[in-house]
Amino acid sequence: MAAPTRDLVKFAAATLGARGAVERILAWPGFAAEAIDTLIDAIRPLLTEPVQRAELDTLLSASVSVTARYLQARLAQIDGRREDAAAAYDILRDALAEPEPFALLHHARVLADLGRTAEAIRTLRLALAAHPPYGFVVKAERLIARLFRSPDWVPVRRLRLALLGSSSTALLPGPLMAAALRAGIALDLYEGGYGAWRQEILDPGSGLHAFAPETVLILVNHRDLAASPRGVAAQGESLCRELRDAWTALQDRHACHVIQCGFDLPQDGAWGALEDQLADGRRRLTIQANLRLSADLPSGVSFLDPARVARLSGAPLASDEEWMRFRQYPATPSLPAFADLVMAQCRAVLGLAPKVLALDLDNTLWGGVIGEDGLAGLKLGAPDPQGEAYLALQDFALDLKARGVILAICSKNNLEDAQAPFLGHDAMRLRLADFAAFRANWDDKATNLAALADELNLGLDAIVFLDDNPLERAWVRSRLPQVTVVEGGDDPWRMLQALRRGCYFEVVTLTAEDVNRHASYAATAATRQLQEGAGSVEEFLAGLGMVAEHGPVDETTLTRVTQLINKTNQFNLTTRRYTEAEVRQMAASPEWWCRWFRLSDRFGDHGLIGLVFARKDAVWRIDTFLMSCRVLGRRMEDFMAAALLTAAKAEGAGRVTGRYHPTAKNGLVADLLPRLGFAPEGEDSCWDLVTKPIAACPFIAEDASNRGRD
């Protein structure tokens, strides 16, 4: 029997009375917070009546059902006993294998009322991870807005996002804030006037320009094409041209990223198949307008396809009903997925997207338990439908790897058993070489994921974890809240769908480093092993055969450079963030020295992994000095400093100075400048080029083939 519904609860209350309804529902299997909330309405009269209340409390204490725990929490909340309520919700959360969004919402509300902001946010993020419907957002958005304003929240990043639309954007902030909260981003939102995207962009005095957006979302819909069944070609062409001009105007002024929404397809029209078949058919022209927008996108613009949102949410964006009743587009059922995709693109642009997919093995990548069922007993591939679903999941993981997502294994297994299918099962798509890290042992998964992050030199927030076992998921959720746990149940098809729906690894540009990332991380793991065998650090570094080069930032490196600037948190002296347009301006300016650094070693090419930007003057001032964490501990920073000092000296500078700007994450480089040999000078560190010679890094040879491009 399924969980109780609202109607069932109301029926029980009407026929059995309040007390009888409670008894009946407590005995009902399953749990649904929203339905139980209607039960609370029914028992409200009992709450203030001492004898009946005492009986009710006894009844709840005696019951072992999850529903009783929820009722106890809710009643404590209603009584104003917030500490009791929070404790009861904790018990409830731990008793439920899968997150129940509406229960978690009440839980978060109590925590917020208690001033426990960080816990309230963590609780809401748990709820949002289950992708609740728009009805959840409606109930949660006030609370989310309240938490957004709390001084206790330390977001990963703040983002100024402007919403411009050809229709109202009034319902977008709620879902967008929910999606941002899930991503750890604090949104500062600006909403343009109703339908006034042109005026906002063209009028230099508009609120948009005063707001100075970092990202602009432009929302259009099929009605803007003034579509009749036939003949909107001219309209589509001119509108698309206008939009493309608008991107340029926006970027010239604000160096911002633009997310351009495409046109949704209208609901079915009277001309049937002709709307697809005729050269000037409505649907055909709408699709052509989308192609016009998405083709040859300039850098700093990404395309958001309404059809993708519809597939993720299972709801079309264009609904005549919602348009007629509320002038609402996108239709509200599609809003959570729409917002998730918008935030996923923002995250991709900011370089904040997760980097690793950590996978369980048994009943996640194949059906069955390898240690018990053996190779022959695994469900994998045709003709078993579920076996095919596991392969689809493997293919999805392989596709992710091909564009830069790191794959890792985290499984409770004997290593030999865990590896057997990769080596000996013909149907397997994934191979051992596809994984940058492979942890199969009997330690708990939280410990293993932490070790995995360490091995790959990444933060826990870079990990997305997929496991069919609800207990393992719950364990990781409770132990490592920074890790993203995919809530996809235990069916391979559902797990795949949850991976898609989560938009975790959304990507809007592709760099050479993305394609090669796997090799580089695999090299990191191999390097760790070499490190263990080497006698001394110097011996180890000398054995790596490192070769580095550096060159000026130009159009070919701009995307990767901007990516590094915005996502490097740990080895980053100043943590200054710049948009692509800003970097372009700096790189072109004679007042700046903007260099990228590449490193390769005998394990592979790490690609473009470091940046040094300095403002030139009589004294050169270090503006940015950062390095990707995948090449930590190789003295690459010595090489970068030497290159900077050499260039400054060659151009006649007397000194180079810099200053450490502390953040929550960059403690690693607190003493970087002194360590490199810079002398402390107040808050600054300084290198006197006249008196102090520059030492080359002894472990890294320079490849000067690019120097000609200076």
């Binding site: 209603i78 919402l105 009322d113 109930k139 006030r142 007629m324 009743r325």
Partner: protein, 78 residues
Amino acid sequence: MDILADLSRIFREIFDDEALSVTVETGPDTLEDWDSIAQVKLVLAVEMEYGIRFTTDEVAGIHCVGDFVTLVNRHLGR
């Protein structure tokens, strides 16, 4: 069935106010946060609560909690 109790719950959640209680007279004049955006959310939430759909005309004619009660009763055939 106590529609007013359901509506109170919905209002409490949407307005994030555990102490909020509504009467049939409650409307945009007496509840400061009840603006046109909140109205859309309220309509959607009430529809979801009862699994009903208001017509365009009905949506336009909602000016107080009492209007919701009347509409819900009409849609539930009472």
